[in-house]
């Protein structure tokens, strides 16, 4: 149910849209004075946000309006809250599904919970109306494995206080949200120290294999039922209400508004879960995969951490991931390359294996490793994946470097009477050093690039700001990671150019 996350990240974190309040307000003002005379002549346009539940609600509205004889079209998955909100005010769309908590926090920017009437009044100033609740509350929840909760006798979030040893994995934006982990922990006085940021979908895998014990979820999340999880009761009523409603332009025809009001109270949580499950079951996986990239994780920065400090932390972790995996690739790749250079079935098998690993998309490789017992959600997994990626260039270049040594020189070494080990160590490997080093350089650059994906499984690195920026559609944040990553790649390149001069024998560089 990872599609749900996007709603929150696009909507509530909202960076891009809210950084331009002045232009937005003038836009709003301009549109308020434009008479919408032709509203009934052209078809009504329903918008929806970029996640399953919003698609479904948008589709329901279109259907209902069409059934009432009102021509309606549905622009699916237009983006997050701010985009939909601006489109609504700009008249590009006439209505879209929204959640009350989101309206309070992101549109009205009101810190406290408001009544439906208060919200209606506030929205009225923008020329926007709101239906009543559609019947369900899609709020945050903490979930656990049912068996574990029963074993420990946990029923409410307050009960977590008694078990500081529990490991908690949270979506990155829940960690950062103003109504997310930090205030929740404060309100409940939760003692758990072992808290990591992890992608929503991977978090379910981690929960299933026991890498974590508690994670955040949405109360209509289909995975809760599918994975036999329990929702811990929010006994202190910490989470805001996220009642589903439709927002519409007040200028919409009364008939259309009536149809939208007619949807109130028709969808309870159980039904919504069911609809979400159905949509997920039949969804197009290609588009789901591309969505996956857009909405993946953001590791929580520590509160108040300065940028240089964060940058240092990201970069160090990045180098740690790329460096350690590269070291493994070198230690294992060169001997494999030596064996492969001798050809034969084993040589072919080695090169074949390394090539196959290279064809697995890095994301898929991570996803394949996560469920394995030794790996799970850890730095280990990231390093293992990077190690496997770094293998092919080193194995292949070692093998081809050795194979390129002229036969006459190989025979000269044999005829001299040098032992096989001496031949390899003093003659063949130095002669192949240029090729081997260029393989290592390729691996290093690949690793520096691919290591950005480690942030997906909470392993950190410069991928953190990149993914977080993608998540927020915030270019500045993307650049916070992308520029250092690019510089790092250049630095690695430069470092290996220097290393070439040290390690490649002078006689080969003439």
């Amino acid at each position: 149910m990872k599609l749900f996350r996007l709603s929150r990240s696009c909507g509530l974190q909202s960076a891009a849209g809210l950084r331009r309040p002045a232009s937005r307000r003038s836009l709003v003002a301009a549109f308020l004075f434009i008479p919408v005379a032709c509203a009934s002549a052209k078809p009504i346009t329903i918008g929806s946000k970029k996640f399953t539940e919003s698609y479904i609600l948008g589709e329901i509205a279109r259907h209902a309006l069409n059934d009432a004889g009102i021509a309606t079209e549905h622009r699916q998955g237009m983006g997050g809250t701010i985009i939909l909100w601006q489109a609504l005010q700009g008249g590009q769309i006439d209505a879209y599904p929204e959640y009350t908590g989101t309206i309070e926090q992101e549109i009205l920017k009101n810190g406290q919970q408001l009544s439906f009437q208060d919200i209606r009044e506030a929205l009225g100033k923008f020329g926007v109306g709101m239906t009543g609740s559609l019947g369900f509350n899609n709020t945050y929840a903490l979930v656990m494995r049912r068996s574990e909760a029963q074993r420990l006798g946990l029923r409410t979030i307050s009960d977590l206080r008694k078990h500081p040893e529990l490991r908690i994995g949270l979506t990155h934006e829940f960690l950062d949200r103003q109504d997310g982990w930090r205030p929740l922990r404060e309100r409940y006085g939760l003692p758990q120290q072992n808290v990591i940021g992890i992608d929503h979908a991977l978090g379910y895998a981690a929960l299933a294999n026991g890498s974590i014990d508690v994670k955040d979820a949405y109360s209509t999340d289909a995975k809760i039922e599918q994975n036999d999880l329990v929702v811990l009761e929010d006994d202190l009523q910490f989470f805001s209400k996220y009642e589903a409603v439709f927002l519409f332009r007040s200028s919409l025809s009364p008939d259309a508004i009536n149809v939208l009001h007619g949807l109130e109270g028709t969808l309870d949580e159980k039904r919504m879960i069911h609809l979400n499950m159905e949509a997920e079951r039949t969804k197009n996986y290609t588009s789901a995969a591309s969505l996956y990239f857009q909405e993946n994780g953001r590791s929580a920065g520590f509160a108040g951490e300065s940028f240089p400090h964060k940058l240092a932390r990201w970069t160090l972790r990045h180098l740690e991931l790329a460096g350690f995996s590269l070291l493994l690739s070198v230690i294992i790749g060169i001997p494999l390359g030596i064996v492969a250079s001798r050809g034969g079935l084993i040589g072919q098998a080695i090169l074949g294996f390394a090539s196959i690993v290279q064809t697995i998309p890095s994301l898929a490789l991570l996803a394949l490793l996560v469920p394995l017992p030794f790996f799970g959600i850890s730095v280990r997994t990231a390093i293992a994946a990077l190690f496997l990626y770094g293998l092919l260039p080193i194995v292949r270049n070692t093998a081809s470097g050795l194979q390129d040594i002229p036969r006459s020189l190989r025979e000269s070494a044999v005829a001299l009477g040098l032992s096989p080990f001496t031949r390899l160590w003093e003659i063949y490997l130095p002669m192949a050093s240029r090729s081997i080093l260029s393989g290592i350089k390729t691996s290093a650059v690949i690793n520096v690039g691919t290591a950005t994906l480690a942030a997906l499984i909470g392993a950190g690195g410069l991928g953190e700001p990149i993914l977080s920026g993608l998540n927020l559609n915030d270019h500045a944040t993307i650049l916070e990671g992308a520029i250092p990553a690019a510089l790092l790649a250049l630095l690695v390149q430069w470092f290996f150019d220097v290393l070439d001069r040290v390690l490649i024998p002078k006689g080969l560089r003439l």
């Binding site: 000269s412 001299l416 009477g417 040098l418 002669m431």
Partner: protein
């Protein structure tokens, strides 16, 4: 004079084709035996069989009365010098390191190696100040002299040269031929020299072994070959290179 190397019924197949038919040959001590013949006649194959870069399919090869086998060859290789075109120098090592490579490997003392190196430079007329250069910084003739020094470093009983002068221009080649002949004579070196150049063969050869199609066609002096050809091919081969002979 007993034979240093003796090939008895040695044959070699390459990919199903016969590279060397069953062959008998004795290499006499202190003499230069030249293997000559057209490309693919089996002369290099024969040389490579002696140093066991390839294994014979049948027959046996004796060195000093002992059969050469896979077990004994490692030790024997130190008693055999092997020189190929361009010297077969390792490009990542200086001339100095190339020459001393094997001596260092078997733990000779620095003093011993140094004095041997000085001797070799004189013998091969290689300027000592060029020893620190890498192969790519040397001329073809200089590389060949370094290759020769490397082969002679451990005082080998047998020196094998596989078309050693082929990549050199005529002037350098002539001067190296002269130097080589003097060296062989001074060391009373047992040499097997592979070439396809009849003039070179005549210049070096105490005994010339003419080969064709994986067989030894005739053994003897160049005069023997010219005046008592064993078969028409011998005359054909000699006539084809007459121009060189006259020059």
């Amino acid at each position: 004079m007993s034979a240093l190397v003796k090939l008895v019924d040695v044959s070699k197949l390459y990919a199903g084709a016969t590279a060397l038919h069953s062959t008998n040959l004795s290499i006499e001590r202190g003499k230069t035996t030249v293997l000559i013949g057209p490309s693919g006649c089996g002369k290099s194959t024969l040389l490579r069989l002696i140093i066991r870069l390839i294994e014979p399919d049948s027959g046996s090869i004796e060195f000093n009365g002992e059969p050469i086998t896979s077990d004994t060859i490692s030790a024997l290789r130190r008693r055999i010098g092997y020189v190929i075109q361009e010297g077969g120098l390792f490009p990542h090592l200086t001339a100095h390191s190339n020459v001393l490579l094997m001596a260092r490997h078997i733990g000779k003392s620095e003093d011993e190696m140094q004095s041997r190196l000085v001797d070799l430079c004189q013998l091969t007329r290689f300027p000592e100040n060029l020893l620190s250069r890498y192969p790519l910084e040397l001329s073809g003739g200089q590389r060949q002299r370094v290759g020769l020094m490397r082969a002679l470093m451990l005082l080998p009983e047998l020196l094998l040269l596989d078309e050693p002068l082929d990549a050199l221009d005529p002037l350098v080649r002539a001067s190296l031929q002269k130097d080589l002949k003097e060296i062989f004579a001074r060391l009373q070196q047992t040499v097997v020299f592979v070439t396809h150049d009849l003039a070179e063969a005549a210049y070096f050869g105490d005994e010339i072994v003419l080969m064709n199609n994986g067989r030894i066609v005739q053994k003897g002096s160049v005069t023997d070959l010219r005046e008592k050809p064993a078969e028409p091919f011998v005359s054909e081969f000699i006539n084809a290179q007459r121009g060189v002979m006259l020059a």
